[in-house]
Amino acid sequence: MAKQEIAWCPGCGDFPIRATLEKVLKELPVPARNIVLTSGIGQAAKMPHYLPYSYFNGLHGRSLPLAVGIKLARPELTVIAVSGDGCHYGEGGNHFIHTIRRRLDITILVCDNKVYGLTKGQSSPTTDQGIRNALDPQGNLNTPLSPLVMALAAGAPFAARTFAGDPHHMEQVLREAILFKGPSVVDILQPCVSFNKVNTYAWYRERVYKLGEPLQDRHEAMRAADRWGERIPIGIFWRDGQFVCREVRETFRRPVTEAAVARLLNTKCIMMR
């Protein structure tokens, strides 16, 4: 895809994420027609426009309920919701928690650059305390969110972190996340070259290290996922081998019959009290 068509800043972490996602999706053992992307609003949420698949680019924070509706209607589709930290953790924070709890096979990809890019540099839920910007001239007063701890607390059976500066690692993690049967969350550390002067490619390269094998239990995974600072672990923190997705009944092209509706006539009234 020609670069000039893409609305991201030169050097944006979204470029390597897009390239990796394109490769992973192309190699996926599912027909391309069965892949559907959803996204919200923000620079990362433009991702589906730059990939050759069906997509529903909805409203800010709302990529996940769209994904839920699509997956429930058509369980045979591979559904991936891709958006930024502001979209998934801020505006859509409630959906993030409850989509994970729904036990559906949906992949949640978060391009986490710790800043609002599209609106030009305001604090996001993952912005560090004290960071100054236009709307936080005295410095961000809020505690940054630990997104994977939140995902694990909501019951995510697959929780991982990767780094946009390490395409090889990113490819492995994204592939495993998409192939995992259940709600999977990947927080992708993504430098923002325009508005985040702290968490740069170099800053991350000095700090990230790869986890070995997945951790043994969810609480251990939470502790590891919560590590941040001089050393930042990347990899799959938690993959629940016992996890069973919720069953979704096939309804598409199986219309309700007239006989079934006739049977429902004269059923008891439900009195709300």
């Binding site: 609305a7 027609r33 069965n34 559907v36 959803t38 609003i41 433009k46 589906p48 426009h49 050759p52 698949y53 069906s54 997509y55 529903f56 680019n57 909805g58 409203l59 709302r62 996940l64 309920p65 769209l66 994904a67 839920v68 509706g69 699509i70 997956k71 429930l72 209607a73 058509r74 045979e76 589709l77 409630n94 959906h95 928690i97 409850h98 979704v248 009944r249 096939e250 309804t251 598409f252 092209r253 199986r254 219309p255 309700v256 019959t257 007239e258 079934a260 509706v261 006739a262 429902l264 006539l265 004269n266 059923t267 008891k268 009234c269 439900i270 009195m271 709300m272 009290r273």
Partner: protein
């Protein structure tokens, strides 16, 4: 011939069960009746009351006449509030008598909840119901015995055959307003419903949830109303006819997704079961206060249709139609109902048409453009995974193939394309239904749930020699010039359950019709026929 009974008491004292069981038995015995209720937003205590009007002709409203019987499940409140409206020859069953029933219920059935069934048996005996029929209507032997016990109490207190009403032969079914909407939705091909519980819409969700295991329909309880409508849009995009149901407060959260449906041209049906606002308002009471809200909900400009059914039949037919309109025109379609219609149980005589609507699934090839510009404004619709056609949908202004655009000429063409649908929608608008003497100089105008109250009031007024007719709008938007036919030179009285006359304003704005008068009610209760007759007479002088 009529018999009206009010059953009052505290929440939790069993009045709901009496109404439920009585309406069930009346229907099985072939009686025609209308039942509604007035309840508080609490689980225990307070004061609730249930009203049942049994008649030898079809009735679809509260008459507003004095009660033939009042049953008090509590010690004082029902008597204090309602006894003044008991007919001079009416029967009052106070706590002493209900207590006797309770005592015998405890003894004979080892279960005081049999009290409700005994009361049902007593009421049936008052109506002169044949006790030998009890066996055929009772689901089991102990219910049959409790009904018979009610007959014994009626005999003991001299109430047997107090007001003999004959059952009416023929097919019938018993539905409340929400059940009718849910059924209509299923007939319209609805296969996906998402929602968050909110009175008075919850029972729509519950109907769907309760049948979802038997039929190919999905119900999902969303984390909030924002998610509910977005889920419905996701399911619709994926190929299922989809719906949400909520009340005004929940709908407030849905408005951004209404706008998303408008921009992405994703078919969806939204039911707003209105209750008095603003904010939490009166959660369990009725109002028609959301018309202007629903009319304007969602930022930006896009076409929509709003239906407001006024009867069980119309709830079924308009809910079914809503899915067809939403799908063919790829727009959000709204259904305005309210607590009154939702919670009123009515008999629908004759066969319920159960014809189903089906959706087609055309397939396109690569190069498919979701937003291809067309004369009607409607672009070909397909769904992901059916062919190599990619279905690209975007909330930004977009190109014909669904990509973000800031081409301002294209923007104008896209706006025009979306709004062009209104021309077609106007052509297939549902005309108002009229009753009474069309030559009469005065027309009572209603929308939504007031329809049948107004129709009965028209009959009553005509019986008094006052020449009136009625016009009920089952479609409240868009309004078309044809709808104004026969109304322009009349004296219009707009009947609404709100404080500001919202539909009257809409009639003026859209059709240039000026209602000479308005009759409004906004205390949270429905109109009764008698009350409406009095208020119309007052307006007419």
């Amino acid at each position: 011939m009529e018999f009206s009974v009010l059953i009052g008491g505290e929440a939790g004292q069993g009045m709901f069960s009496v109404e439920l069981e009585l309406s069930e038995m009346l229907c099985r015995l072939g009686y025609t009746f209308f039942a509604t209720k007035n309840y508080m937003s609490r689980i225990r205590g307070g004061h609730n009351y249930h009203m049942i009007r049994v008649s030898d002709r079809p009735v679809h409203a509260l008459s507003g006449k004095p009660w033939d019987m009042i049953i008090a499940m509590d010690s004082a409140e029902t008597e204090r509030r309602h006894r003044p409206s008991l007919a001079s020859d009416g029967v009052f069953l106070g706590s002493d008598r209900v207590g006797q029933i309770e005592a015998e219920a405890g003894e004979a059935f080892e279960d005081v909840t049999a009290t409700g069934t005994i009361l049902v048996g007593l009421i049936l005996a008052c109506l002169g119901a044949d006790p030998s029929a009890h066996r055929t209507i009772a689901p089991d032997e102990s219910v049959g015995r409790a009904l018979a016990k009610g007959g014994e109490f009626a005999a003991r207190w001299g109430l047997t055959g107090r007001r003999v009403i004959s059952p009416r032969p023929g097919d019938r079914c018993k539905l409340d307003g929400n059940q009718a909407l849910a059924l209509g939705a299923l007939m319209g091909g609805c296969q996906f419903v998402a929602g968050y519980p909110m009175t008075p819409a919850t029972s729509i969700l519950q109907y769907i949830a309760s049948v979802a295991s038997e039929i190919p329909v999905h119900f999902e309880q969303a984390e909030d109303e924002i998610a509910a409508l977005n889920m419905a849009l996701g399911a619709s995009y994926a190929g299922l006819r989809s719906m949400v149901a909520t009340s005004g407060g929940g709908f407030a959260l849905m408005t951004e997704a209404v706008s998303l449906a408008g921009m992405t041209e994703t078919p969806v049906v939204v039911i707003d079961a209105q209750r008095p606002g603003p904010a939490t308002g009166l959660p369990t009471r009725t109002e028609q206060g959301d018309l202007e809200f629903v009319l304007h909900a969602g930022h930006g400009e896009f076409p929509r249709v709003i239906f407001a059914p006024g009867s069980i039949e119309e709830a079924i037919s308009l809910a079914r139609r809503a899915f067809d309109v939403a799908d063919r025109w790829q727009i959000p379609v709204f259904i305005l109902t309210d607590q009154y219609l939702a919670d009123s149980v009515q008999i629908m005589e004759g066969r319920v048409p159960t014809k189903m609507l089906r959706r087609e699934y055309p397939v396109f090839e690569a190069g498919y453009r979701r937003y291809a510009l067309t004369d009607t404004g409607v672009s070909p619709l397909t769904h992901p995974g059916l062919s190599e056609a990619r279905v690209e949908v975007d909330s930004d202004e977009h190109t014909e193939d669904g990509k973000i655009t800031e081409d301002l000429d294209l923007r104008v063409r896209m706006v025009d394309k979306r709004l062009r649908k209104l021309e077609g929608l106007r052509k297939e608008a549902v005309m108002p239904s009229r009753s009474g003497d069309r030559r009469a100089p005065t027309v009572l105008v209603s929308w939504g749930s007031n329809r049948q109250i107004v129709d009965e009031a028209v009959e009553a007024l005509r019986a008094e020699g006052i020449a009136v007719s009625s016009a009920h709008f089952g479609q409240v938007y868009p309004l078309t010039p044809q709808m104004a036919r026969g109304l322009a030179r009349k004296r219009l009285i707009c009947i609404e359950n709100n404080a500001t006359g919202q539909f009257g304003r809409l009639l003026r704005r859209e059709l240039g019709l000026n209602a000479a008068h308005q009759v409004l009610k906004y205390n949270g209760e429905c109109f009764t026929v008698a009350e409406l007759v009095e208020r119309v007479k007052k307006v007419l002088g």
